[in-house]
Symmetry: C2
Subunit: 415 residues, 2 copies
């Protein structure tokens, strides 16, 4: 994979020019994307920036994110050839930080469950996960060092786990969603994919101009970690159970304090409330599409929107109230723990291109709005990656990244 | 003015057809808008709905709200002729409720302070207020019975006060902002304008499909009202002081319990934090416009965006933290009060078309996300209207409307 930090360092040292760095990504896309289908549009004429911390960094932009200079098709026939007026905030902010948006990455239709054409670079017969399918696969296949996705259920952390890349779903609205096609305004969260946790942290710090997110010197910092099984979400498959066990052994060996943590009972209720919040809002967010172009919607989202039309304000208000109380209980519940460690996905990427897998280990955290980081590092017997997930309190994105680096380093030493 | 409830009742009784009701609005626009300039686009070919609680209700849509069938120009040269792909959620929801969007109403550029061409129907040399200038004026001039606006500082309640119409800025996100041009994602709130508080309530209940918002039988309900002076926002002008005094006398006479209320000190800090939250977010929300079309921005917004570029994450996070604590303190601070009564605007509409007036009595409540209702009913010596404002706890939109109806009825009896 291409490393953001490695490219930035070589550019700093004069060993690589921003233009050459971007050209390498175009070459990698040309040679690898025929199999993977991570990109739905590539803009070889894009202007390369010469300054900024992300100069020379080629970025893939999920195709539900508005771009003024490229089409934005939402993975949906309704939006074929659609060209928005303005760039989404995240696209303009990336450009300000020096990055170069080289293309649009494949998304499931409206970031729901109808699959994109993308394949998992580790095995082309397996799903890359969704809904940020192309963003995860583009980094995993070494085409770009950085990509942008969104998570409403598990659409950043799950494809990152399936594709073996690092990713963050930051605190809700740390990255503004202005110009991002809305599915659920309470849940939609922008996130980043990169080769390693440090690459993700470097990029997020540059994008948001928040220096505390930059990967620092964590030497000697030993986190207190609570291991969370998310019983309310069902049992993991053996691969994810093994990934978590491997990570726990590695961080214990590295000196971390590790204990089992129990989540307050209200978090199980909040897990169940996620669907109500999401579906009620999706009915309203996609009302024009449903009312005017219902026959052009792919089957899974058409079925969801039809089934959710009768959802009323009373159920929605109750679900929001549960979520509000659960956020408070989660914040308190962390107690002395710096972070929770849990599953990123039920298992490795399923052997199918007709499904994008299951978000059940991600949905609670999306509704809670808390930072989640996927750490790659475990590989199953078939050679497919499986990640583990670090979760912290709302607003503690720097801590989430720091703990995730600790886990990543421990896993690397244990191999 | 045209009354939503009156039109709905006459249609129910068979005394008026939805088509005739809509045609009357087109006729009123044709005869009055030459002076007032409330509309920037009128769609005479729009399909009239025959069913739904808002059938026959012509609606003016603020021109920062996306419409698939009409241009959406943001009051800005950059967006001249721009036609979005989809309707904003509120536009689709209005159509579902039976309403007919007859045109786009004038907005200040990007809903900031650079004035639109709209004039106050009560005196054409005075501002109608902003940023929802056309929406307030279109109802005040009797062109449409209902219009939609947005408030980031005071852009619903202030123009309603200046134009002598009822309006609600509901709880944050009660009406989804999907498809509305973003200025500040923490603050932007959709609201409604209509002739009376009951008209506003009837329309909001239909739009949101929330029956508890429908104007009910409040007979015998006597609210406990706290009068709030908002000292942190400075002194009101004599007209607004007189409007509040008149309202207090009227509701006391009507049997309400009325006492002076003091706001917790943190609310003064939150009032000051509003600008930091707004400006930091505006820099990011409008980054494409600033980076690519700076010279085409009108002067006030260009100056704001330039001045706010250096605002950092630390100041923003501190302002958000202040707002978070203030929301809690406000919620507790209501105590036994059903609602607060306070100024809607510093005074009557200023005699100028170069300014849209001052939002200082509105900004705190926008940041708090709580329901605000403007009640018209006071007229100054020059014949210009001045409103008063009812504020309740977050989520208590039904109570805000009920108390506002009490105030409105008391003011009507006192005249």
């Amino acid at each position: 994979m291409l490393s953001v930090i490695d490219i930035a360092r070589r550019i700093d040292q004069g060993a690589l020019s921003p233009h050459d760095a971007i050209r390498r990504s175009f070459d990698a896309i040309a040679s690898r994307d025929g199999d993977v289908n991570a990109f739905v549009h590539v803009d070889r004429g894009v202007a390369v920036r010469e300054s900024g911390p992300l100069r020379g960094i080629a970025v893939g932009i999920k195709d539900i994110i508005d771009t003024a200079d490229m089409p934005t098709e939402m993975g949906a026939a309704i939006y074929a050839g659609w060209r928005p007026k303005a760039d989404a905030s995240v696209v303009a902010m990336l450009r300000r930080a020096g990055a170069t948006s080289v293309g649009k990455t494949a998304t499931t239709s409206f970031a729901y469950l109808d699959p994109a054409a993308t394949r998992n670079p580790h095995n082309l017969n397996h799903t890359p996960g969704g809904s940020s399918s192309g963003s995860a696969a583009a980094v995993a296949a070494g085409m770009v060092p950085l990509s942008v996705g969104t998570q409403t259920g598990g659409s950043v952390i799950r494809p990152a786990s399936y594709c073996g890349v690092a990713a963050i779903k930051p605190s809700f609205r740390l990255i503004p969603t202005v110009g991002v096609k809305c599915f659920s305004w309470t849940l939609d969260t922008l996130g980043l994919f990169a080769a390693s946790v440090s690459d993700v942290a470097f990029a997020l710090a540059a994008l948001t101009d928040r220096s505390d997110l930059r990967p620092g010197d964590d030497a000697g910092t030993v986190p207190r970690i609570g291991v969370v099984m998310q019983d309310f979400a069902g049992e993991p498959e053996p691969d994810s159970a093994a990934a978590l066990e491997t990570a726990v052994r590695a961080i214990e060996k590295a000196g971390a304090s590790v204990r089992a943590a129990r989540l307050p009972a209200i978090l199980g209720e909040a897990f169940a409330a996620h669907a109500t919040v999401q579906d009620y809002e999706a009915v309203r967010a996609l009302s024009w599409e449903y009312d005017r172009h219902r026959d052009a919607l792919p089957p899974l989202i058409a079925r969801l929107l039809e089934a959710a039309q009768p959802l009323g304000a009373e159920a929605y208000d109750a679900a929001r109230s549960t979520a509000h109380r659960a956020r408070g209980a989660l914040h308190e519940g962390f107690g002395d723990f710096d972070a929770y460690l849990t599953f990123s996905s039920p298992g490795a990427a399923p052997e199918t291109l007709a499904s994008t897998g299951d978000s059940r280990f991600n949905r609670l955290w999306t509704l809670m709005g808390v930072p989640c980081v996927n750490i790659p590092g475990f590989t199953n017997a078939s050679g497919l990656p499986v990640g583990v997930q670090v979760v912290t309190r709302f607003g503690q994105d720097a801590r989430a990244l720091s703990v995730a680096r600790f886990v990543e380093a421990a896993l690397a030493r244990a191999r």
